[in-house]
Structure formats: C-alpha cells, structure tokens
Symmetry: C2
Subunit: 112 residues, 2 copies
Amino acid sequence: MKYWIDNKVPAPPYLAVIFISKKTNHLEGYKEMDELTMELAIKQPGFLGYESCNHDNEGIFISYWKDYESIENWRHHTTHQAAKNMGKKDWYERYVSQIAEVKHSVEFIKNQ
Amino acid sequence: MKYWIDNKVPAPPYLAVIFISKKTNHLEGYKEMDELTMELAIKQPGFLGYESCNHDNEGIFISYWKDYESIENWRHHTTHQAAKNMGKKDWYERYVSQIAEVKHSVEFIKNQ
C-alpha cells in the first residue's frame, strides 16, 4: 500500500522512518490502534507519505517526513507513544526502527 | 525476510537502498533473476544486510551498504543491470528506488 500527499513521491531531500516488524500472536487491540495511528500520522505537519507491505506476521512500513522536527513531534504524540508501549509489551516479537535521510529517489511507472 | 552479515543490525551510519515495487503479470524469468541477484548482492564488498517483505505482487526490499562506493559498484554490476532492464521492460508496473543515509537505528527483540 502507498499514500502520498498530492499523490506523488516528492524530490529529495526528506526523511524516511523505516519500521520493520515481526508480530507475535498476541494482537488484541492491534488492528484498532494501527488504524488510529495511521489516521493520525497522515494528518501531522510535515508528513509526506508512506509505503507499506505486510505478509503474515511480518511487515515493513516506511513513512516519509519533511524534517526531523516533524518526526520528533509525531514521536511525542500521546497516541503514538501508547501504541509503542503496547507494541513492545504485546504485539512485536521483533522490530527495527530507523531514521534515514533520503538523498536520491526515482519513481518508475510503466508506460508513462 | 531478513539477512544480516554477522546476524545483527549494525550501528549507523550506513546506507539504505529502498526498493518498493509493484509487479506486472509478465513475470517470465523473474524468479530466477531475483534469486541470482540476491545471491550476488550479499557477496558484494560493503553489503551489510537486507530486510524484505512481499505480498501478492507488491514488495519492499531494503538493502544496507557500508558506503556509496559499494552501492555504485553493485549498481554497475552486469547482472544487476540486466535485471534492471528486464524489470523495466516486463516485470514492474511501478517501482520507487531510493538511497538514504541511516542516522538512527534501534532493534527490539522481545525478552532479550
């Protein structure tokens, strides 16, 4: 799945928050919180878009942001923090969370 | 799926090559080339690891590299170039290819 503000991948530089996860089988409340945080994230100042992939209990979610300040603001959002706490306690067997500065970006769309 | 040299996510800084793709239904030769390029990539100097997710015809593949030189060398590898050409011609409906500098990285493993 993908979602981009203005429906296009912008020109760099911007930031990527890469979240790679493997879930447990204790997923009470996960779906609701996932939907809620997604809804909130895309409304945050500086949010640019996301790309995601989920297969069985594994997933990669990459959100893109204008600057570090936007990421920090979202990181401190009460709901986001609650989600992280529940994620660590119950939902995730493993995750990798990375912040990266996107320097080059190419989007290829067939026959365009 | 994941694969890391020495079985651990290293401390930044390092580089991420993010490849997000949506495949067509014309996938003759795709699987063989995917296996071949994967086998080759992990043997390249400067390769650190990868994280991937595939679901139906959509996928995210992130490879991690020591420096820009390693990425450039792999980018110019004959087999990799052949794969890219075939990908553009037949396999991919859309892809986004990004190079990003990883600045922060946290790995969480439950009960460790």
